[in-house]
């Protein structure tokens, strides 16, 4: 760190230089920091504060909290897919398979046994990491094969996983409850503290959904930071190198197979954790949720989260998850007041949702390939340069 005259600047002088020039980096560590700009720090704090306050606002109902919880859970899965598809460039349509494996593992380890299914009623501190690890193990198993093929071959190969997964989920009846029936998800408890029960903390009465909402957000926060940390590490740079030009990456000494296998492993771990959390949020886990057509739809939703949110950005995955979960809610809210929408009219509400989902994917990819994150960048850059156009 050298000052203007060549001598070493004092920290105080550096701070003085930085004032009003937030984009000026004086060392590499600051450039590579997790929160490398003041605005990122500001928005993170604002987001955390907003999320913490939301459940206590008077107009926020329990179903709102459940929806936001779903956003957090899907965002964790979306971050996993973003690491694989956005950072490492390996397009996967099989994400739902790993999510399903996580959900199944969580239900078996954390769920209640019945006449038909086994269950161990373990603590969340055991079943949540294990559902991530089991999904990760399967991801590592598939990865060497997946690393052999590229592009659309890979997309369709991983699509096969969803259909094979459906078969396995249906056949492992003592674990999954079988076709069309399924089983109950786990009841999350940490050391006896029920996360999906009404609780009273420091004299404040919490709804059944609130502890779970707070817990999933905490987990999302941790996993997003870990994801960003991985992305800025040596391995994250290897991911990007493989995505941008795999042969060039290999020539530069990036071990191709190991990088792809790692990307698959990490991504499946995130998927497994998201699956375990989904099992709680859904309450009921059926093979049809995660395999076959349901699984394909879930995989497409995750890809939409990555693409609509923003490829290779952590915050994009969160925005994308919010979009995918909340868009149908908004449509449901406004649909009754729209013309031509309703049961007997041109389109039903569900059909409108489906059409909008499809059309929005198309519009985003055509008009703003960087997704919602790209829209944010445009707005930010506009105001940054204001009143000049650039």
């Amino acid at each position: 760190m050298t000052g203007p005259r060549g001598g070493t600047a004092s920290p105080k002088a550096v701070r003085a230089t930085l004032r009003g020039r937030p984009a000026l980096y004086t060392d590499y560590a600051a450039d590579q920091a997790i929160w490398n700009t003041p605005s990122k720090r500001f928005w993170t704090i604002l987001l955390v504060a907003a999320v913490l306050v939301t459940p206590f606002l008077p107009f926020v109902t329990r179903s709102h909290q459940a929806d936001l919880t779903l956003v957090f859970v899907l965002a964790i899965g979306g971050i996993g897919l973003n690491l694989l598809t956005g950072y490492a460039g390996q397009v996967s349509l099989g994400h739902a398979f790993f999510v399903g494996v996580g959900a199944l593992t969580a239900s078996v380890l954390g769920g209640m046994p019945t006449q038909n299914v086994v269950g161990f009623e373990l603590d969340l501190l055991i079943w949540l990491p294990v559902s991530g690890l089991v999904a990760m193990a399967l991801g590592l198993l598939v990865a060497p094969l997946a690393a052999r093929v590229r592009g659309l071959y890979l997309a369709i190969l991983t699509l096969g996983l969803v259909f094979i997964g459906e078969h396995l989920f249906k056949e492992l009846r003592s674990l999954s409850g079988g076709q069309g029936v399924g089983r109950r998800g786990p009841d999350p408890e940490i050391l006896g503290f029920g996360l999906f029960h009404p609780q009273e903390i420091l004299g404040v009465q919490l709804d059944r959904e609130t502890p779970w909402y707070l817990f999933t957000f905490l987990l999302l926060f941790v996993m997003a930071v870990l994801g960003r940390n991985l992305a800025r590490s040596r391995w994250g740079r290897a991911f990007a190198a493989v995505r941008d030009r795999d042969i060039a990456a290999e020539v530069m000494g990036v071990p191709l197979l190991r990088t792809k296998v790692l990307a698959f492993g990490v991504s499946s771990f995130y998927a497994g954790v998201a699956g375990g959390l989904l099992a709680v949020s859904f309450g009921q886990v059926t093979p049809e949720n995660f395999g076959g057509l349901g699984g394909l739809l879930l995989s497409v939703e995750f890809l939409a989260i990555v693409l609509i949110g923003g490829v290779a950005t952590m915050s994009g995955s969160i925005i994308g998850a919010a979009f995918v979960v909340l868009m149908p809610r908004l449509v449901e809210m406004f649909a009754p007041s729209l013309p031509l929408i309703g049961d007997g009219a041109l389109l039903s509400v569900q059909q409108l949702e489906g059409v909008l989902f499809g059309v929005l994917i198309v519009l985003f990819l055509i008009l703003e390939p960087r997704g919602l994150f790209g829209l944010w960048l445009r707005i930010r850059n506009y105001w940054k340069a204001w009143p000049f156009s650039y």
Partner: protein
């Protein structure tokens, strides 16, 4: 003799459904060769093709063969229109984004088909139904013979068109190198549209073939078209020959697994024939990462 009879009936059934898969796969391959995009909207095009055939037969009173041709024409138009509206702006974008656009198109068209078909199954008025041909002791379903002849015939005609006609030559040139063919005076954009039109027409025909012999078609039957995905991967994404060979392999394998379903159930579980295509695809990819006949991608560093 008993075994031979079983073998022959499975073979005919498998070749019948397999050639329909091949027909669908050729639709995928033609679009992939022209634009490097896997068209995930194909299932929706297929089901709309079946719908239009039914519409022309029942509402306009057109004879079945003409209705099929008219439906193929309609779907060719819709295919070309889709390309112009949704896919043309994606030229130059990464192939994966374009593939995702086709997923979006799929949702829109699929919901449209739900809207058009409604909850009652539609019938295309096809003449084969559940009729059988009896040769000595053997019985074959007519629909399997019809599927084989019509599908392979349509693929043959498409291949002939690509190989022999001037426009086919232009299409192949576009598939090889877009810029060079542009420089040679080929209207590349029109070739994209044409490949979508051919693909839409083939999808419509496949929709009729799938719907034949089933008693009725509902919108969810669209997902049968997903069976063509392992076929194109097994055959190679850019090879029509590969589509045919792989379609037949997967059709026969599926029919075999289906006919031994009750024997297989205790060991590998119920309805294992549904995953057989994907298992074959995965095994093949371990040996040949570009499928049986796919062109390995040549990369310069």
């Amino acid at each position: 003799m008993e075994l031979l009879a079983v073998f022959l009936s499975v073979l005919v059934r498998g070749v019948g459904i397999g050639s329909t898969y091949a027909l669908l796969a050729v639709g995928f391959v033609i679009i992939y060769r022209a634009t490097d995009v896997v068209n995930f909207a194909q299932p929706a095009l297929m089901i709309l093709g079946a719908y239009f055939t039914a519409l022309y037969v029942h509402n306009a009173g057109v004879p079945f063969p003409l209705a099929v041709l008219a439906a193929m024409g309609t779907m060719a138009l819709i295919g070309a229109l889709t390309e112009r509206v949704a896919l043309r702006p994606m030229v130059g974008e990464p192939p994966f984004s374009a593939a995702m656009v086709t997923v979006g198109v799929f949702f829109a068209l699929f919901i449209l088909s739900f809207r058009l078909i409604g909850s009652n199954p539609i019938s295309t008025g096809e003449p084969w139904g559940f009729e059988r041909i009896i040769v000595g002791d053997l019985q074959f379903r007519q629909v399997d013979i019809a599927r084989t002849l019509i599908s392979l015939g349509a693929i043959g005609l498409t291949g002939l068109f690509l190989q022999r006609s001037k426009v086919g030559l232009a299409m192949r040139a576009t598939a090889m190198d877009q810029e060079t063919s542009l420089a040679q005076g080929v209207n590349v954009g029109r070739m994209f549209g044409l490949s979508w039109a051919i693909s839409g027409a083939l999808a419509a025909l496949a929709g009729v073939m799938i719907s034949a012999g089933s008693g009725g078609t509902v919108p969810l039957d669209a997902f049968i078209a997903l069976k063509a995905l392992p076929v194109i991967i097994l055959g190679g994404l850019d090879s029509i020959k590969g589509s045919v060979v792989a379609g037949l392999i997967i059709g026969v394998a599926e029919a075999t697994a289906l006919s031994f379903n009750s024997t297989l159930t205790p060991t590998v579980g119920e309805n294992v024939y549904l995953v057989v295509p994907y298992l074959i695809m995965m095994l093949a990819l371990m040996v040949r990462p570009y499928g049986l006949y796919g062109t390995p991608e040549v990369q310069r560093v």
